[in-house]
């Protein structure tokens, strides 16, 4: 479904991605692990066309997308739950969800309303707060809103950047349960996480990114069992 081949990306003169090769197959949950500044978020932004790769190819459903504007990529079916949630604080919950459906210009109003209801069914807290400003929500609610907003684009591939960051442990489990149920409903997921144990427990495969390169790639179960991964990313000695 998604394939990155030798992707290189720069921020100004700094080469952030040196060579990223990864593949996500339809229906999977794939986990991308890596330490701080390893290039995880940049990989996400490169897939969406927010950062332009300086070399390599990004393909989505067998078509090159690395030269397309972000709006076209979103319209083709990729959306992002960004790091640190980044909801629109000065818009209401409902308006945030409407922004998520921004590219679906031709969708009939009834269809959008039904999708909003679907998000509310997934996150009843959002329904209670639909007229509240996004900035007044708690961290957990904001994460739900960020996920709901991304779902409003009806993505076939959902990118999630650190969905557990800053959440209480109880909420982390909840969020990952929801990620799993979104996946069961047919959305493919690429998730970037620092919380490797939880992420690998729901993923089928994992990649490890280090200094802008994919250094390890294996089945999630094998990664969870591998000693060096446990030491590096699961905080075990």
């Amino acid at each position: 479904m998604l394939k990155l081949t030798d992707v290189v990306a720069h921020y100004g003169p700094i080469q952030v991605l040196k060579s990223v090769n990864l593949e996500v197959r339809a229906g999977e949950i794939v986990c991308l692990l890596g330490g701080n500044a390893s290039g995880k978020s940049t990989t996400m932004k490169t897939i969406l066309g927010v950062v332009r790769p300086t070399a390599g190819r990004v393909e989505f459903e067998d078509q090159r997308i690395d030269r397309l504007p972000t709006e076209t990529i979103v319209r083709r079916g990729i959306s992002l739950v960004p790091e640190a949630r980044r909801i629109f604080a000065r818009m209401t919950v409902w308006e945030n969800l409407a922004m998520g459906a921004f590219t679906r210009q031709k969708a009939p109003a009834g269809e959008l309303a039904a999708d909003v209801e679907r998000v509310y069914a997934l996150f009843p807290r959002l329904a209670e707060r639909q007229h509240q400003l996004g900035g007044t929500l708690s961290g957990g609610e904001q994460q739900m809103l960020a996920i709901g907003r991304a779902l409003m684009a009806r993505p076939r591939l959902l990118l999630m950047d650190e969905p557990s960051m800053g959440l209480a442990p109880v909420l982390v489990d909840q969020v990952f349960d929801i990620i799993q149920s979104i996946n069961r409903l047919g959305t493919t997921i690429l998730v970037v996480e620092q919380n490797a144990a939880v992420a690998l427990s729901i993923a089928s495969r994992g990649y490890v990114l280090q200094n802008g390169r994919i250094v390890v790639h294996d089945a999630a179960r094998a990664l969870l069992a591998a000693d060096h991964i446990r030491r590096a990313y699961l905080g075990e000695d």
């Binding site: 978020s41 504007p69 979103v74 980044r86 922004m99 921004f102 590219t103």
Partner: protein, 313 residues
């Protein structure tokens, strides 16, 4: 004192008219600041050119001798042309004077200097093409001096009421557009977090261009209203009007649309009351003293929010 009280209602109505027009022009500064974080110093010139376009429409109608000119259709015609021309001019400025700079990652200072340059350029272009002498709006042909209405015992020119209604309706329309429509949501999204707006699939450059169009069109409309009221326009009128409107935008909180409207109203009322109660020469002094006092206690302006800048990685 009795004399002063007798003209007070009239001065308040006049202050409202001045205030709504300041607000209208202030919106152009505040909207552009909202999406680009730059002060479009050429906005005063866009306002001035709006006044010229309105003058041209009126002059052409007079030349064509179309018969009786009734404000009910002439004023909308003047406004429409002025808004369209000013709006397109704003889009052109953005495209050729500012976008090349911000796309190449210029600091905020670059577009600002470019705006000052555009302001000087437009002033001189108008002076060369239209002449340095002032033009006279034939307002009395549209609004005869006898068209007055009584408000609280004071006699107010109908034109002043028209100014309040037109400017008020435009502000209300903009408010609805920004708060209730998808386009408005995309403008707010770009203003709040440009990268996230991009990730939602918003074409940020188009939103910026639309914002310039809307703000400039409102500025152009303000030019026509001011031209009709003061009846004299010249190529330099945008300087002081622009400064006042910019003050109104800062007073209300730059970047905040309701703030620009509120700032304009306060400034207009204060000026008009200052003229009533003291030497008219002090009206600008009073206006700026109020600005300074407000900024001392609320540096972000009356309705501005103190939003910490988000780290952009």
């Amino acid at each position: 004192m009795a004399g002063v009280l007798a003209i007070l209602p009239q001065q308040i109505v006049f202050g409202l008219a001045l205030g709504t027009v300041y607000g209208l022009v202030a919106l152009g500064y505040t909207m552009v600041y909202g999406v680009l974080f730059m002060i479009n110093f050429a906005h005063g010139e866009i306002f001035m050119i709006g006044a010229y376009v309105g003058w041209w429409v009126l002059a052409l109608l007079l030349k064509a001798q179309v018969g009786a000119l009734h404000p009910a259709w002439v004023v909308p015609l003047m406004l429409l042309h002025a808004m369209l021309f000013a709006g397109l001019l704003g889009v052109g400025l953005e495209r050729f004077a500012y976008r090349p700079l911000y796309l190449r990652g210029a600091t905020r200072l670059g577009p600002l200097i470019s705006a000052i340059g555009a302001s000087i350029f437009l002033q001189n272009a108008v002076m060369l093409s239209q002449g340095a002498r002032m033009k006279v709006y034939m307002t009395s042909l549209l609004f005869p001096r006898t068209w007055r209405i009584q408000i609280a015992g004071a006699s107010v020119s109908l034109l002043v009421i028209v100014m309040i209604v037109v400017a008020g309706l435009m502000m209300w329309g903009l408010h609805l557009l920004v708060q209730r429509t998808k386009l408005g949501r995309s403008i707010r999204a770009v203003a709040e977090d440009r990268e996230m707006a991009t990730i939602m699939g918003v074409n940020v450059r188009r939103v910026i261009a639309v914002t310039f169009f809307l703000g400039s069109a409102l500025g152009g409309a303000g030019g026509v209203l001011v031209g009709l009221y003061y009846t004299q326009i010249d190529f330099f009128m945008g300087y002081s009007a622009g400064l006042k409107a910019f003050t109104a935008a800062v007073l209300g909180g730059i970047g905040n649309i309701r703030g620009a409207m509120l700032g304009g109203l306060i400034l207009g009322l204060v000026e008009s009351l200052a003229v009533t109660f003291m030497n008219p020469a002090y009206k600008d002094v009073v206006a700026f003293v109020i600005l300074i006092v407000v900024l001392v206690f609320r540096p972000m302006g009356l309705l501005g929010e103190n939003v910490a800048e988000r780290e952009k990685v």
